[in-house]
Symmetry: C2
Subunit: 231 residues, 2 copies
DNA sequence: AGGACTTTGTGAACGGGAGAACAAACTGAG
DNA sequence: CTCAGTTTGTTCTCCCGTTCACAAAGTCCT
């Protein structure tokens, strides 16, 4: 993930971080998708690709892809396409996954287990530095090679490792309290898997993943399909 | 979840299913959130609530909430607010969670385990009728009280239970094949947890949940916050 | 009954994102 | 060097979703 020799370093330094302002939120949400598609292409040994190919791999329109990439800068070559490895690095840098992000996971139930073992985090620069649970029975348990520790240890852990991102995988009843303490400890970005809306002060980002909501959206469309079929 | 006596059944029958056409996608995605907020209010013994209260519980603007609900019909009372139990039923019916949705989960790794044990599915009308895995070593294993069966059994299971929704929790390498076979077996709605874009024929809905993408979006904003702080 | 007050439902203005379409820029052959 | 072919970057238009603001419609108190 380090810049390779031969890359257009001049261009990189010409585009300093401050010129990367105001990338639309919709684009930011798609950049990780492009990143994954590019990684797949690299693994296949592909050196160059057109916006059409990359768009197909990412499941989007090629015009949209080009517009998204244009917010980052001009990293393609007209008449040729994009250098896969170079573009991948640029997107990774823009998102911030070239650096190491220490993460804590709170709530080591079924979901917490799955998250702790999820290899997709590690491979994208996210390092789980601690697993916390309020239940004393879980202490000492070892999950994914990490000891489960007391939730009360949150603050020193955050301070020691410089943790900026916290993951909530607790039941809904505990989520708000966990979020409050995370904020208190200095965490400013939270990924919430608990099925409840948590409120946080300004300046703290929360993203929510709700498994049952996705299924319900599918159910709605399925119901429509079925009622249309019978009509 | 059954209609209670005393509810405005007249209105319900006046608004037949076909009048519920073209609800905006953004609204559909929020209805499950409202449903959950209303369920919480019911559990607290709240009988009536204003759009302001419900919007706060759901984490949205009250004007947006009212407009969303207006797509379903006029279920509120001006000057008073909404009957919590009544509105909850109307939303549940609109989404389709008043009926029973049989679901199969394919891929019983860490995430499959967590999904199989996730109580939020069951409580919203989703019933896991089968767990499937291609790995013979997993056969006979019992997860959440359900035997893990051979992936080759997919088609008869779908036919027998009338399964319309499938969940993919396999590694990325297997996901496209699993999706193909699901479509072949008659499934028309797929929830995909594998980190890859799968392609399906027209008429099949796919929703994607990618845990690492959410973290990457947080990382982007966190990076911005940190670079602003040092500037 | 009447008037003050509350809250819904919706029309209208506004902003942002999606997609089409094209000019600019590069390659490569002759 | 020139010209045909290719692909990017960007402009323009359209559409969807959000938000404001207010009329309509109900409640409650006197």
């Amino acid at each position: 993930m380090a810049p390779l020799p031969g890359w257009k370093v001049g261009l990189v330094s010409a585009r300093t971080a401050d010129s990367a302002r105001d990338i639309p939120e919709a684009t930011v949400a798609r950049l990780p998708v492009y990143l994954r598609a590019l990684t797949t292409l690299v693994d296949n040994g592909t050196a160059t690709c057109s916006s059409e190919e990359l768009a197909a791999a990412a499941g989007v329109n090629s015009a949209k892809l080009r517009k998204d990439l244009s917010y980052l800068g001009s990293y393609g070559t007209r008449g040729v396409g994009y250098d896969v490895d170079y573009l991948r690095y640029q997107i990774a840098r823009e998102i911030g996954v070239t650096q190491d992000w220490p993460v804590v996971i709170v709530g080591i139930g079924n979901l917490g287990h799955a998250l702790a073992n999820f290899s997709g985090f590690r491979s994208r620069g996210f390092r789980v530095v601690a697993l916390l649970d309020a239940d004393p029975d879980r202490r000492g348990e070892r999950v994914a090679g990490i000891d489960v520790r007391d939730f009360a240890d949150l603050e020193p852990i955050v301070r020691e490792h410089g943790v900026a991102i916290g993951v909530i995988a607790t039941p809904a009843s505990a989520a708000q309290d966990v979020a409050d303490q995370m904020v208190e400890a200095g965490i400013r970005s939270i990924l919430n898997f608990a099925p409840i809306v948590i409120s946080v002060p300004d300046g703290v980002d929360v993203r929510k993943v709700d498994l049952s909501i996705e299924l319900q959206i599918l159910a709605y469309h399925e119901q429509r399909k079925q009622s249309e079929a019978t009509a």
